[in-house]
Amino acid sequence: MNRITIDPVTRLEGHGKIEILLDPEGEVQNAYFQIPELRGFERFCVGRLAEDMPNLTDRICGVCPEAHHLAATKALDELFHAEPTPAAKKLRELFYSIFFATDHTTHFYALGGPDFIVGPDAPKAERNILGVIKKVGMDVAGKVLKMRRDGHDLIAKIGGRRVQPNWGLPGGVSRGITDELRQEILARGREAVEFARFSLKAFDDIVLGNPGYVELIKSEGFTHRCYSMGTVDEKGRVNFYDGLIRVVDQDGQEVLKYHPREYLSHIAERVEPWTYLKFPYLKKVGWKGLVDGKDSGVYRATPLSRLNAASGMATPLAQEEYERLYATLGGKPVHHTLATHWARLVELLYATERWVELASDPEVAHPNVRQVPTATPTEGVGCVEAPRGTLTHHYWTDERGVLTKVNLVVGTTNNYAPIALSVKKAAQALIHKGTVVTDGLLDRVEMAFRAYDPCFGCATHALPGQMPLEVTVRAADGVVVERLARGLR
C-alpha cells in the first residue's frame, strides 16, 4: 500500500501526523488524522482533592482554560451537591460569554479567516493574520486587538487571573463583582456587539459576495452528513454554559436529548488498532467506521453542529443571522464543513448579545455568589460548550473528596472522526491514480481541519512549535518515492 504522511507538528516528534493511505491503484483508500496527545492527566489527578480541579484542569490547555475551569466547577457543584446561587450562575455565564466572544474573534481573524478573507488560492505566505489585515484594512486590526484586550481584561477582573482563572468553587464563585464593574462590562459588551455585527458584515461582503467562495463552501468535497450535537436551553436554543445535550440526525430530526451526566449512556469510544486515539460515536447508532450517513454513529460537535442541533438563537440579532445562514445554504441542517466559519460568527454575535443581556441584569452584581456545600461528595459531571466542541468533566471521589477516578471528553475529541473524514475527502479530491502530490493538497487538507479549530493538548507551548507540513509518499514496499514539506527547518 502506498502511504502519504503529512506531519503538522514536528515539535511533538512522531505524534502528530496525517496519514493518507493509497490503494494499489493510487486512489485514496483512507485518511487518518493522528494527533499529539498529552498523556496521563486523568491519572495525574487521582489522589488529589476534587476542589483543586478547576485550578488544575485550566492548565491542561492554554487556549481555553476558561472552558475547563467552568466545566470543572460545574462538576464540583454536582459532586458536592451544592446548587450555585442565581447570582453565581449568571456571573459564570457572563464570564463565559466574554471568553467565547474573545476566542471566536481570534479564530475568525487570525486562524480560520485567512482561508476566506485572503482566499483559498492565495500564496501560503499571505494566508495569515497579516494578509487579513492587508485585505480588510489596518483599522480592523486595531478593532480585533481591542476586542481581545477588552475580553482578556474583563476575564481577569472577574476570574482573578489573566490566563487561568482561580475563581470557581462548588456552589458558586469565590467573589462577586461590584456594580461599577458591571457597568464597565456592559459598556464594553455593547461595543462587542457592534464588533460582532461588523465581523458578519465583513464575512458577507468578502465571502458571501464571492460566488466562488460560496461554491467552495457548498462543495461536496467539504460536505459530510454526520449527526450534530450541541447544548440547548429549555426552549431548545443554543447555550454555551448550561442545558441539555441534543443530537439531531442528517435531516434535523432529534435523536437524543439528555442531561450531560448521562453521557456515558449515549456516547461510546471506538478504539482502532492503528492509533492511540479513541473515536467517540453515538451508541444508539453504532460504529460503522470512518464514514458519514445515518447508519454511522459519527457526530460533530462544532459551532455549526450546535446551530443544527438547536431550534434557534436566544438573542434577536443572532437569530436573524441564524435564519440567514440557513436560508443561504439551502435549509437546515447544514453539513458543509466550511460553513462552520460562518456559524462561528453567528455564535460570536450571540455571545456578545448574551454578554450585554447578563451585564444589564443588576443581580449579576449581587453579593450572594456562593452556597457553601455541606453534603458528602460522591460523583459529579460538569459540561459546557467549549468553542471547539462539547466539553465534559466527570469526577468520582471518596467521602473525603479525594479523587478516585477522572474522565474528560474534550471538545476536539468529539470531532476526531469527522476531522478524519474531512481530511480523507480533501485528499480524494486531489489524488487520483497516484498523481503527484501538489501544494494544493496541503492547503486543502489544512482548510479541512482548520474549520474545526482543533486543539490538541496545547498546554505545552515549548519552542519551536511551528506547524510545518510534511508529505511523504511511500511505495508499497515502504520506500520513499516523494517528499513535500512546508515550514520545516
Binding site: 492548565r59 492554554g62 487570525a110 489596518m138 481581545r148 482543533p454 486543539c455 496545547c458 498546554a459 507551548h461
Partner: protein, 157 residues
C-alpha cells in the same frame, strides 16, 4: 528602561515548567526596576503581553530534539518559532510581532533564554534531572542579559 523577565510554561507538564522554575529562582535577585512574571501564552497573547516594555527576557522550554536536554541557549526572535503547537488556535510569535510592527505598536527588544527539554508530553510536576540542573545556568544568563542587554548569543551547556 522598563524591563520584564517572563517565565513561560505549564507547571504540570514535566520540563515544560522550566521557564516558570527559572523565574521562581530569580525572585529577589533582579534589580528593583525589573519586573518578574510568569505566563502561559504564545503568539498573539504573548505579543500583547510584551507591549509597553523596552526590554523583555522570555524564559521557556525548547524542544528540538537536536540538543541534549538541559542545554541553555540565548536566541533572538526569528531564530525560533513559538506558538501553541498542538493547536491551530494561535499564530506564531514572529507573525504576532510582524502584526505589531504593521500596526506601529512599540515592541521591546526581545531575548529568549531557552532550555532544551526532555519530557513535555506526560503530566508530571517534576523536571527531569538534566533540565533541573540547567535552572541555575539559565537564571545566570537572565541576570547577565538584564545587566547588559544588547549581547544575546551562544549556549551555556
Amino acid at each position: 528602561m522598563k524591563t520584564l523577565v517572563l517565565g513561560l510554561g505549564n507547571p504540570l507538564l514535566g520540563d515544560d515548567a522550566v521557564g516558570l522554575r527559572v523565574a521562581a529562582s530569580l525572585r529577589g535577585r533582579l534589580p528593583p526596576d525589573v519586573e518578574l512574571d510568569e505566563d502561559y501564552c504564545g503568539g498573539l497573547r504573548l505579543m500583547e503581553r510584551l507591549a509597553g516594555y523596552e526590554h523583555v527576557v522570555i524564559v521557556d522550554a525548547l524542544v528540538t530534539g537536536a540538543h541534549p536536554p538541559g542545554l541553555v541557549l540565548c536566541l533572538r526572535p526569528g531564530e525560533v518559532e513559538t506558538q501553541h503547537s498542538g493547536s491551530t488556535h494561535d499564530v506564531s510569535l514572529s507573525d504576532a510581532l510582524r502584526l505589531a510592527a504593521a500596526l506601529g505598536l512599540p515592541m521591546p527588544r526581545l531575548d529568549l533564554v531557552v532550555i532544551e527539554a526532555g519530557q513535555v508530553l506526560e503530566f508530571d510536576e517534576h523536571l527531569t534531572p538534566a533540565v533541573e540542573a540547567a535552572v541555575p545556568r539559565a537564571a545566570r544568563m537572565v541576570l547577565e542579559l538584564v545587566a547588559a542587554p544588547p549581547k544575546c548569543a551562544g549556549a551555556a551547556a
